[in-house]
Amino acid sequence: MKFKSLLTTAAIALGLATGAVAQDKTKVGFVYVGPVGDGGWTYEHNKGRLAIEEEFGDKVETVFVESVPEGPDAERVMTQMALEGADLIFTTSFGYMDPTINVAKKFPNVKFEHATGYKMADNVSVYSARFYEGRAVQGHIAGKMTESNIIGYIGSYPIPEVIRGINSAYIHAKKANPDVQFKIVWAYTWFDPAKEADAASVLIEQGADVILQHTDSTAPQAAAQEAGNVITFGQASDMSEYAPKPRVSSIIDNWGPYYIARTRAVMDGTWTSSNTWDGIGPGMVEIGEISDAVPADIKEEALALKAALADGSYHAFTGPLKKQDGSDWLAEGEVADDGTLAGMNFYVEGLEGDIPQ
């Protein structure tokens, strides 16, 4: 193989590829971290993809690759999509951040949308959902429903998004029930049914009768069902096959409207790099049907909380709040700014244990 000739072909073909965007069908690519059948995170992103197809019919073509490891493999998959003429590529995991930026540099005419990250470029937008608003509603229900006063929490990775969720759930559980205690297990995975089931079992053995999860499979739901008197919440997806019990409600990521809007922007030529962080209000985060296993008065309170979060009259992080070490964080009536929330790396007062470092 002659490297010089290879290099020239590469340069020429890259030029061709970026020029090849001008076709009548808009091509949208998706890179998924899990399998589309995970029933959680990737499943919902894939629903968003299908929503694009439904909206635009044969004006779009969508492609996806699932279970792509974060790192060089992701970079290759994105490059491959860009080469094959994708106009817009959604990269749907935090770990795709640097690969997305790298590939975006090589294909300035292709638009990229990276979920849950913070690095942007002229052709790279970032988007995420304020899942913590949903956690507030969950926390309230959990605090009211627990009889053992022990709430188990399956964390995936100790990153700001997950810590935000734990804090939000804890604050609202504590408000509903001052005696409540959180037990947190770190699974170090987004999707691993076996590990998630183990984590759930450990928490149940330690007396938890409510399990919250920030992992994507339904394994904890199954473990709770087997254990009997334990309630759970669907994560990322409704997981309604476990309703009315153990699954009493859920946080649903609804990406469809955003994906449709961004695809339309590419078609119209109005796409610009942006940073989107939407919550319950705009509909990016939905609260799944609260089942009959929850008494009517608690359900009503939860819905009221949801409504307040949606119309902006209440913020999930409203002072007075202290950090775990007892230092002041938010004064009475003060609400957290997005910068602090985005990089949140501390527990609020009352939570036990340390964030793994």
Partner: protein, 360 residues
């Protein structure tokens, strides 16, 4: 009735033919699987094997074969030395992780200093990290007779925990807004294992893989130590008479395979991957075991097997996005390859005979 008859000598012809037969059988049965999934099998197989090499965008995929294949070959070469002598290092994945941590750690310790000697230090540190991790099961085996398969495998999970720990603590990017993961070495020039020629896929890890192949070939064919390795695997008793020191051989084989796995991790983290993150390892250490056997534990065979494995990965991704094949189907396809290889391997040592049933 069909009986298996042990060959007096393993068949040379079959030992060369089985990898090819296995690949063909994988194509046939894989094609069948794809057909059941409602895809055109010829097109699917074609996409996997043809597209990366000769398709429209081959200019991009060919260098990627080097990027994907190099760590596999580098690790598999190390493993094959031990496997030949009956020393089973199953924990290359852990050694790969430790090499990456040591390598990246050494580099980041100098940040933001700009100096030529940083990268060589990282190379040494990476090899040391892998060597260290493999030497644990080696010493335990030599000293206490523990089983190196179990110990090296278990240490993979320890290494994964270490990886998570340094991603969240020691090596976390101070400018990363609290997110886990180290600084990106791609943007730290002195520590960056860049492509030697832009767009070629050739980085130092690929060079190291080729050197390792040559080194292993010479070692096995021209060197006393290589002879001892082969002898120990093929005739342990004879090896004893020949004066082979088993303890030293264990330390050498595990150590060298660990060092090579560590190098692979170091080249990966400083090059294609760029950063230490919780999900840095993607299974090269385990896949390399398949590569080692697919290559018949022969250095040149491993080189070819690494290329083939890389091909199925890259072709598999293309098949996913172009034809909508599920990722799991591609994994089954790769699994078939090892399965058929082991199955047909039987023919190397056994002959199939139609036996007449005799009266007892």
């Amino acid at each position: 009735m069909i009986v298996l008859e042990k060959r007096p000598q393993p068949s040379r012809a079959w030992s060369y033919a089985t990898p090819l037969v296995a690949v063909l059988a994988t194509m046939v049965f894989g094609g069948l699987l794809f057909a059941i999934l409602g895809k055109n099998p010829v097109q699917a197989i074609g996409t996997i094997f043809w597209e990366p090499l000769f398709g429209e965008f081959a200019f991009y995929y060919r260098p990627q074969l080097l990027v994907k294949g190099a760590p596999l070959v580098l690790i598999a070469i190390g493993l094959s030395l031990g496997f030949r002598a009956g020393i089973w290092n199953i924990g290359a994945e852990g050694q790969y992780i430790m090499g990456a941590i040591f390598g990246a750690g050494a580099g980041l310790a100098f940040y933001p200093l700009d100096a030529w000697y940083i990268f060589p230090i990282m190379v040494v540190a990476g090899a040391f990290g892998g060597w260290l991790w493999a030497t644990i099961p080696a010493l335990l085996k030599v000293r206490f007779g523990t089983n190196e398969i179990l110990v090296s495998l278990m240490l993979v999970y320890v290494a994964e925990q270490m990886l998570a720990s340094v991603s969240l603590g020691l090596l976390k990017n101070p400018e990363g807004f609290g997110f886990p993961g180290s600084r990106n070495l791609q943007s730290y020039e002195s520590a960056h294992n860049a492509e030697l020629i832009a767009g070629s896929g050739m980085h130092w890890g690929v060079v190291a893989a080729f050197i390792a192949v040559i080194f292993a070939y010479v070692l096995l064919n021209r060197h006393m130590l290589g002879f001892h390795i082969r002898l120990t695997g093929e005739a342990p008793r004879a090896a004893k008479f020949a004066g082979v020191n088993p303890a030293r051989l264990i330390l050498f084989c595990l150590g060298i395979s660990g060092a090579l796995a560590g190098l692979a991790g170091m080249f990966e983290v400083s090059g294609p991957s760029g950063q230490i993150s919780i999900d840095f390892n993607v299974g090269y250490g385990f896949t390399a075991i398949i590569v080692a056997f697919l290559g018949r534990l022969h250095p040149v065979g491993i080189l070819l097997a690494g290329g083939l494995m890389a091909l199925t990965y890259i072709g598999g991704e293309i098949a996913q996005s172009q034809l909508g094949l599920p990722a799991a189907a591609i994994q089954v396809f790769q699994g078939m390859l090892l399965f058929f290889l082991l199955a047909f391997d039987l023919l190397t040592n056994f002959r199939i005979r139609a036996a007449r049933s005799e009266v007892a």
